[in-house]
């Protein structure tokens, strides 16, 4: 039981991993892609933040999940799935071909969850994540799920060779 609402920029932003400019950038550009979930007591349960990008001509126009976060107390309630579903619906309406996201290869829990939600590994991005000291830290999976516009599901055919972060758009 959750109240799902558009993100209003205020002090909700407490539980974050990113700087304020990062959120402002998304809110200024893709406000519809920022949804928060609130418990009946008013606690912030979690949020999803994303964007739409890519070339339509090259059939690369898609929704992207930038951040998905659920507070520890509100895990295992299906909230992440709900938020993902909403982001996918927004991307559908925008005529996206697919939705994609990056996840640490070591984060097996998340990878499995995304698989359950219909995502598959499209490619591996080498050293996508870096540690706080700037040193390369870990590889990412680029996971995708085709939307209805991609009738032949061309967008999710895996690329066998890993790519470097500078080679992705």
């Amino acid at each position: 039981m959750t109240t799902l609402r558009a993100f209003t920029f205020n002090f909700d932003i407490c539980y974050n991993n990113y700087g304020i400019p990062f959120y402002l950038q998304y809110l200024a550009h893709w406000p519809e892609y920022f949804i928060v979930a609130e418990a009946p007591g008013g606690e912030l349960m979690g949020y999803i933040m994303g964007k739409a990008e890519g070339s339509v001509a090259r059939e690369e126009w898609h929704g992207h999940v930038t951040a998905l976060s659920v507070a520890p107390e509100f895990r295992r309630l299906g909230l992440a799935a709900k938020l993902m579903e909403m982001l996918e619906e927004i991307s559908e309406r925008k005529g996206g071909f697919f939705v994609d996201l990056f996840v640490r290869v070591s984060n097996q829990v998340a990878v499995n969850m995304y698989k359950q939600l219909g995502y598959s590994v499209y490619r591996t991005v080498i050293e996508y994540y870096s540690a706080s000291n700037g040193e390369p830290d870990e590889d990412a999976y680029d996971m995708r799920k085709a939307l209805s516009r991609d009738t032949e599901r061309k967008s999710i055919i895996p690329i066998p060779h890993p790519v470097r972060p500078e080679d992705i758009e």
Partner: protein, 936 residues
């Protein structure tokens, strides 16, 4: 950095290396390269600006500024110079200069879309809404693109939002904005979703809800597609404003059928239902049905609706949703409020809650969900409720100690939830001391047992519970020990750290606090919301270096906010996210008016003065460098925002023990008074520093003499304000039982400035007869042992440290006053000596003033020496204290390991006290040195 698209331009090629150096942070090379280039190409203005950026970034602000102005007065129209100047002015925190730049540019190139657009953005950065409106229209006239037109409309809305006079907003700005949009609607020129959203915003602000509804439901509303449920949400908002309860009810019903877990619609469903009942609304004749569908008007229908939703969940094979079950409790709550007997139809709250626990007890959210409805249980059912829940927690066989433990994480979570609930029900508070001690032991045992399921899982909560229980028993040292132990097992548990932090602060030991706070890894807005935990205690405990560092953490955040937010306001215009613009601005304002911001700003400057002024720079130079102006109060007293998160420490306490609005109000009142005391002190010091010097340029019309008397009258005004504020502070301490320690101390320790400074305000030409010495009782208040061992017990008196800090601060102030006096008396003495030489009258005695002054500095010397001896004595007795010899309190048995953690905590406190004393001693010695220069 700047646009570098046109590679063909030879100037771009020449400038590129400078850009690269700047981008890589190699400012020195950038400056050198710019100089080189300027030798060959004197008129390459952009090179000058880039050099200025380099200078600015290496701390040479003045040089950078004059270089930039050289270029700016030429009113450049090349893109490179303009963009570079924009960057520079932003870094200098002078965004208003960017507007001047582009105003000149559009005059010279009146048809440039780009420069007009930059001008609009420059105005947006500084919030010049009226000029934005004009700039938007000017743009639209050059290039008739819709976004430009709507920038102008939005600027009107911003004028309305920022108008002091609401009438002006309602009768002028908003109607004008409405007409502008209507014109586009009539001409069928509306293109984008953002334009419809803006139209809706305007109508809504005008209170034209019917018109707003028409827009949303009409053809224009079809453009509202990006946001999910955008039309429904907007309709719902308008139904509620218009009190269209049938529509509100029908829409909520419809949305709940789609998603029976969306809580907000249960609330609007119940609200509308009861409104309809109160109005005895009845379904109209056929054919006039509500546009949103069927309306429900009776309790019976609502009960059936909720029961159906629950049954739906019960039948589901997948994970059930919590919404319907909680909606059932919510409905009971509402029916009970109305005194409606039908609540029985839904069942007994106790049974329902037990069932809820059965379904969701293994989820951590179970406690936050049920906590809201605990009041539905009558007090006599509380123990029974706990017992019933207990039956649903599978625990293993009880061991020797009589405790049974959960076998897996789910059972553990259930057990935790019961503990939390029984605390929230007040059952733990009702225990006697023995019961509490047993509870502590039990919870600790559970914590240790639970560690096998994960060190950073929710297991430590049981320990926190144990701890807060411990607090009742006033066993501070054991608390510390349990927390230190917990932290050693669960090193990233924020609640442990927060509790430890608070306890150490209460003990006056600031040293461990710094590490704890930085390990909390507070980010961004948290510097505002929880930064108070750190900065409130820092300076007053004598850890000046750490205090200064802590203030800097917060200040850095506040300063960058101002710059960052403006850039994203501009972005929001660009992308048509008009709804976000007022939000961004409100956020920026909220930070700028933050109480904590004002506090750290003030404390930081005071700290700098006390520790540095007259050591590296003179007091006057320090004050000038800080830009403190005694006449100006820069704190927004009337609009102060209290952004502190006072609930950062999770509490499961029963409702009657929770923090109330009244607590918050009182706390804010105290903080404000204390801030006032400190900011007046700062301004007093500034006015003292500037006393007797040539008046500042802005007052240059006044004569020198008038300048001085104006300053001394400022000084007097500030002094009387300080006296009044201290009086208020004393009243607060008398009125309230629990007060801010610092406020409490104002009672006796923080009032000498009035008597010290006042006589000096009119120092010229004759010195007043009574120079107030440092009152001896000020030092005697500091006497006593901060840490003492008595009968095997360790007691602390941290207030002694705080008193000592105030004493040292006072010494600083007195010495500044003395140094000012000396500067006045010196010319007096030398003129007397000249006269003496002329008259050759060796018999004439030294004037009383001079003798008085010398006597005074002599006594000052005495007090400072005494203070230094006192600090030395304290250090010695602290060092001599052998904590290892200590036996811990009785009544609470500790294992050897636990004793180890207690000792470690004690050591931290001891070493922190020593650190404070050392810093205080160092500062006193520094100040004592300056006594020598007081000879006249």
């Amino acid at each position: 950095m700047a646009a570098r698209g046109h590679v063909q331009d030879p100037n771009d090629r020449r400038l590129r290396p400078i850009y690269d150096y700047l981008d890589n942070g190699n400012n020195k090379m950038a400056i050198q390269q710019a100089d080189k280039l300027l030798k060959k190409h004197k008129d390459l203005h952009c090179a000058k600006v880039l050099k200025a950026i380099g200078l600015q970034r290496t701390g040479k602000q003045d040089e950078a500024f004059s270089l930039a102005q050289e270029v700016a007065t030429l009113e450049p129209t090349d893109d490179n110079s303009l963009q570079a100047l924009t960057i520079l002015y932003r870094e200098m925190h002078h965004p208003e200069l960017v507007t001047k730049l582009y105003e000149a540019a559009v005059k010279k190139v009146p048809l440039s879309e780009e420069y007009h657009s930059h001008l609009f953005m420059a105005y947006a950065r500084v919030g010049e809404y009226k000029k934005m409106q004009q700039a938007g229209m000017a743009l639209y006239k050059i290039v008739p693109k819709n976004p430009y037109y709507f920038w102008s409309v939005m600027s009107l809305v911003m004028q309305a939002i920022s108008a002091q006079d609401e009438k002006l907003a309602q009768t002028m700005f908003l109607p004008l904005a409405e007409r502008m949009v209507e014109k586009m609607v009539k001409e069928e020129k509306i293109e984008a979703e953002a334009e419809v959203q803006l139209y809706f915003m305007i109508l809504e602000r005008l209170g034209k809800c019917v018109e707003a509804l028409d827009v949303v439901r009409g053809p224009l509303g079809e453009k509202l597609t990006s946001e999910l449920r955008s039309r429904e949400n907007k309709c719902m908002m308008m139904y509620q404003r218009l009190q269209l309860w049938p529509e509100c009810n029908a829409l909520s019903y419809k949305l709940l059928l789609k998603n029976p877990d969306d809580w907000q619609f249960y609330l609007s469903y119940f609200d509308s239902l009861f409104h309809l009942m109160d109005k005895s609304w009845s379904q109209p004749e056929e054919g006039e049905h509500c546009v949103e569908g069927p309306v429900q008007t009776t309790v019976a229908e609502a009960v059936k609706f909720v029961v159906d939703r629950m049954e739906e969940q019960d039948k589901k094979e997948s994970r059930p949703l919590r919404g319907p079950y909680l909606a059932c409790l919510e409905l009971i709550h509402r029916l009970r409020q109305r005194g409606c007997p039908d609540e029985k139809e839904l069942g007994d709250p106790l049974e329902l809650m037990v069932q809820f626990f059965g379904k969701f007890g293994d989820k951590p959210c179970c406690i936050t969900d049920l906590k809201i409805y605990l009041h539905l249980l009558p007090p006599e059912q509380r123990s029974q409720f706990k017992k019933r829940l207990g039956e649903l927690v599978p625990l293993g066989e009880a061991g020797e100690d009589g405790f049974g433990f959960p076998g897996d994480t789910k059972a553990l979570q259930r057990h935790l939830c019961v503990c939390q609930l029984s605390r929230a029900l007040g059952l733990q508070h009702a225990l006697d001391t023995e019961g509490k001690l047993r509870l502590i032991t039990e919870l600790k045992a559970h914590y240790h047992h639970g560690l096998q399921f994960g060190k950073n899982s929710s297991t430590p909560i049981s320990l926190s519970l144990a701890l807060t229980t411990t607090m009742w028993a006033n066993m501070l040292w054991q608390c510390l020990s349990v927390l230190e132990e917990g932290l050693s097992f669960s090193p990233s548990n924020a609640q442990f750290k927060l509790l430890l932090l608070l306890l150490f602060c209460r003990l006056g030991a600031f040293q461990p606090v710094v590490d704890l706070y930085s390990s909390l890894d507070a980010k961004h807005v948290q510097h505002d919301t929880i930064g108070y935990l750190l900065t409130r205690y820092a300076g007053s405990l004598g850890q000046f270096a750490a205090a200064s560092q802590s203030c800097n953490f917060s200040l850095r955040f506040f300063h960058s906010n101002q710059k960052d937010t403006s850039e994203y306001i501009i972005q929001a215009y660009k992308y048509g996210a008009f709804e976000k613009i007022p939000e961004f601005i409100a956020f920026r304002t909220r930070l700028n008016q933050s109480l904590h911001f004002a506090q750290v700003r003030t404390e930081r400057m005071l700290l700098d003065l006390y520790t540095e002024a007259d050591v590296t720079l003179s007091l006057e130079e320090s004050v000038k460098a800080m830009g403190v102006c005694p006449e100006e109060d820069d704190i927004p007293w009337d609009n102060m925002r209290d952004n502190r998160d006072l609930t950062v420490l999770v509490s499961w306490d029963p409702k009657d023990r929770e923090l109330t609005e009244e607590h918050r109000r009182l706390s804010l009142e105290e903080e404000s008074v204390w801030l006032k005391v400190r900011s007046l002190t700062l301004r007093l010091l500034a006015s003292l520093a500037l006393l007797g010097h040539a008046p500042s340029p802005r007052n240059s019309d006044k004569t020198n003499e008038n300048g001085i008397s104006a300053k001394s009258s400022t000084l007097q005004t500030l002094l009387s304000q300080l006296d009044q504020t201290l009086e208020t502070a004393v009243q607060i301490t008398e009125k309230q039982t629990q007060v801010h320690t610092l406020i409490y101390l104002t009672k006796g320790c923080y009032c000498p400035y009035g008597s010290l400074l006042f006589p000096h305000a009119d120092l010229c030409p004759s010195l007043p007869s009574s120079l107030s010495p440092l009152r001896p009782e000020m030092l005697s208040r500091c006497k006593g042992e901060v840490l003492e061992m008595k009968d095997g017990r360790l007691t602390t008196r941290p207030s002694l440290l705080e008193t000592l800090v105030f004493f040292v601060e006072t010494v600083c102030v007195v010495l500044w006053v003395a140094s000012y006096s000396a500067s006045v008396l010196r010319p007096l003495k030398s003129s007397l000596q000249k006269k003496k030489k002329k008259k050759k009258d060796s018999s004439s005695a030294m004037p009383v003033v001079l003798c008085g002054f010398q006597e005074w500095t002599g006594s000052l010397q005495g007090v400072v020496t005494q203070a230094l001896d006192h600090v030395k004595g304290q250090e010695a007795s602290l060092t001599a204290l052998k904590l290892a010899a200590l036996t811990l309190e009785e009544g609470y048995s500790q294992t050897q390991e636990e004793c180890g953690f207690t000792r470690a905590a004690m050591d931290k406190v001891q070493s922190s006290y020593l650190g404070s004393l050392q810093e205080l001693g160092d500062l006193l010695r520094k100040r004592a040195d300056s006594l020598k220069s007081l000879k006249i």
